[in-house]
């Protein structure tokens, strides 16, 4: 019985855990943490169970909520594409849950100086669980309006988690709130037009209803598609709509940025791919509209803008946020290339980029946890002070640059092949330039980290040898090491991932 209920369990478990922590956790912050880790571990097991079910059966799982058949009620559809995204989200949230043991109590300030019960820590974990429920829900759903509701719950809890940072976090989050709400409104407006034109909200049903000559020529449908695209682009911070992301993620607390940076943008990219190919069709998007002529150059612009902006940043966390903006360009561009290799690269990059963003954010988070800031200078001599963290950062950096056998190489390989096949030379150039710029950025950091300060060392050589090893606590190191090794594993098993999952999800109409 539990096998058939797994699709809903992954969504309801974090929701119930949020409520349980909310109702029981006001006495003891340790209890919050243990309940939270327990919930996330169960979630990860369930996500793996689903992945296994999809791979062994080879077909999509349909789950009807309330027992109502598909177009009348809401259904969850889990196929090869989203079972992979679900597993990625569950893995990231479990790793960050362990990582948060020390960082959340240290970073989330108390309500008052005299407060005995840390309400904010409890509320932090409640929002965390709600975010996970929202993300998994919107990944699993097969209903266009349900997707909107869960997008709202995911972004609302994101606002709360980001605002719990220091200094300018409130202001940056407020700007994100305005942008995010505008994006959500565009999405809702687009779904509204689709509903007026077709009378349905179920994705599979919409797909068949939109597959007529009248609908494909309709201006209303075209504009609905444009609005849905703008909505998800705002949510994923695609280039002209990226303004909120660097500010909001830089000033957020370490745990929040580790959790949100890998998940929010990647899940939004998944949503875009799902809507492009499961509500509209490859034929409609690429042949009838032909917007890839505009969107792929936009993606190239996003990559170049993100990479060049990252080059100029002094603060490492801010630098990483610009790299996130560039990576969104990779995935959007790949999905819009309109061929199998581009699609494979984009989908594989959702998994790979989720893990490598997590890896570098965790490493920088550990450095700023120990040294108190995240500037380039704080990395000075880091290889001696924090050897494990530095190696983790090194692996993450190699993946970002795209050095084999890390996963970053394989996604770039498919994207470059796809761009070559589609004749999108600008995008191809942007991909290669971005790898080069990433190499410059990360080798600059690695150089700073590897060599001690020569100015200081000069004349006091014997002092530098006595640098004390001051590694981050074990609760942070273990998830970091697991993440770093997963980058290599995802790279080594890239062929299996692509053959068993991604190839099965390629939508009809792509060549």
């Amino acid at each position: 019985m539990i096998q058939s209920q797994l699709p809903i369990l992954i969504i309801v478990m974090p929701l119930l855990m949020a409520l349980v922590i909310f109702l029981l956790g006001h006495k003891n912050e340790g209890l919050c943490f243990y309940l939270h880790v327990l919930g996330m571990a169960g979630l990860f097991a369930a996500a793996l169970g689903i992945l296994d079910q999809v791979v062994t059966s080879g077909t999509a799982i349909h789950y009807y909520l309330g027992g109502w058949p598909a177009p009348y009620g809401i259904e969850l559809v889990i196929d090869h594409l989203n079972s992979m995204v679900i597993a990625m989200v569950a893995a990231v949230t479990l790793l960050v849950a362990f990582y948060s043991r020390q960082t959340v109590p240290a970073e989330v300030p108390m309500r008052t100086e005299h407060e005995k019960v840390p309400l904010r820590v409890r509320n932090y974990y409640v929002l965390y669980n709600l975010l996970v429920a929202g993300l998994l829900g919107l990944t699993a759903t097969g209903d266009a309006f349900n997707l909107y509701v869960l997008l709202e719950i995911a972004t609302l809890s994101t606002y709360g988690l980001l605002a719990l940072g220091r200094g300018r976090a409130y202001y940056a989050t407020f700007k994100y709130l305005i942008m995010g709400t505008i994006g959500a409104s565009f999405y809702l407006l687009g779904v509204g037009y689709l509903f007026i034109m077709t009378g349905s909200l179920n994705m599979a049903d919409l797909f068949t209803l939109l597959d007529t000559a009248f609908m494909q020529q309709s201006m209303s449908i075209t504009i609905a598609f444009a609005m849905i695209l703008v909505g998800v682009w705002v949510k994923m911070a695609f280039f002209p709509f990226h303004g909120w992301l660097p500010n909001a993620y830089t000033v957020a607390s370490t745990t929040s940025s580790c959790l949100i940076a890998p998940l929010m943008t990647k899940v939004s990219v998944y949503v875009m791919i799902r809507l492009m190919f499961s509500v509209f069709s490859a034929q409609y998007v690429f042949e009838i509209l032909g917007w890839q002529k505009i969107v792929v150059p936009m993606a190239a612009a996003a990559i170049l803008f993100g990479s060049i902006s990252a080059l100029g940043q002094k603060n490492l966390k801010r630098m990483l946020t610009y790299i996130v903006v560039a990576e969104v360009g990779y995935m959007v561009g790949g999905a819009w290339l309109g061929n199998v290799n581009g699609y494979t690269g984009a989908v594989y990059h959702i998994l790979a980029d989720g893990m490598m963003t997590l890896c570098v954010f965790m490493a920088i988070g550990a450095v700023s946890y120990k040294t108190g800031d995240a500037s380039l200078e704080s990395m000075r001599g880091i290889f001696r002070k924090m050897p494990v963290t530095s190696v983790v950062f090194l692996v993450g950096a190699f993946a970002m640059i795209g050095i084999p056998p890390t996963c970053g190489f394989f996604s770039k390989w498919y994207l470059v092949t796809g761009a070559y096949e589609a004749g999108q030379w600008l995008f191809l150039g942007a991909l290669l330039a971005s790898s080069l710029i990433n190499a410059i950025i990360f080798f600059r950091i690695i150089e700073t980290g590897y060599f001690p300060d020569f100015n200081k060392a000069h004349g006091h050589g014997h002092h530098t040898d006595k640098t004390v090893v001051a590694e981050a606590p074990l609760s942070m190191l273990v998830p970091m090491v697991i993440t770093a090794s997963s980058l290599v594993l995802i790279g080594l098993f890239s062929k299996d991932i692509i053959n068993n999952l991604i190839r099965h999800s390629v939508p009809p109409g792509l060549f």
């Binding site: 119930l16 109702l23 109502w68 009348y72 349900n146 709202e152 709360g160 037009y193 007026i196 009378g199």
Partner: protein, 249 residues
Amino acid sequence: MKVIAALFSIVLGVVLLVAANDLPIWGDPESPVSVHLSSYFIEHSVEQTSVPNFVTAVLADYRGYDTMFETAVIFCAGITVMTILRRSHRLRKKNVPPRPVREGQDIIICSAARLIVPMMQLFALYVLAHGHHSPGGGFQGGVIFGASFILLALAYDLKTVLSRLKEKTMMLVSGLGVLVYAGIGVLCLFLGGNFLDYSRLASILQVTEIEARSHGILGVEVGVALTVTCIMLSLYADLASGGEMDEGL
């Protein structure tokens, strides 16, 4: 900047007008919305759920999963506002401008509020319970119930209300509301159905499967009302007092 914003608004307005080009005529009985799914709900909701108001049937049963998450959205908004507004005293003294201090209470307003509040609360329960037959349900009933507390807070002061309904209780009940909704869903799961398949409650409630759907809807509506009531008041109290929970407006 203002010029750019104005230009964007005009362009968006034109785009929306163009998009209206192909839309079916207003109120057209042959439009896709009227014929595709709506007719199914109109024809079958009574026989499948025994709820005469098919808006309620769609909201709380056919699409009950959406409604559960809408309740969770309200809960999430409430605790986000609460979490953000509670800063340390030191920070707050620096940042928050002084609020106007209220002097005394007006006897006319207080007396009127004393008359209105019990009526409002009774009416809220009626709206909640009568959602099966007429416009109403958990959201509407909850809003009216929450508004009755806000009226008390406006007429007397926030302390009076919070002495009757403690903040801790309020937050506890708001969580319980979502738990009632999700709990009913999980109960259906344990009874062998899918999540939120209320027909499975028949074995517990000793009624037919169709009536069990109707009772299940009432159960989740109560959950929605609990959350909406408490979050309404909590949002008012937090925003009006800037998170101090002492006095505001």
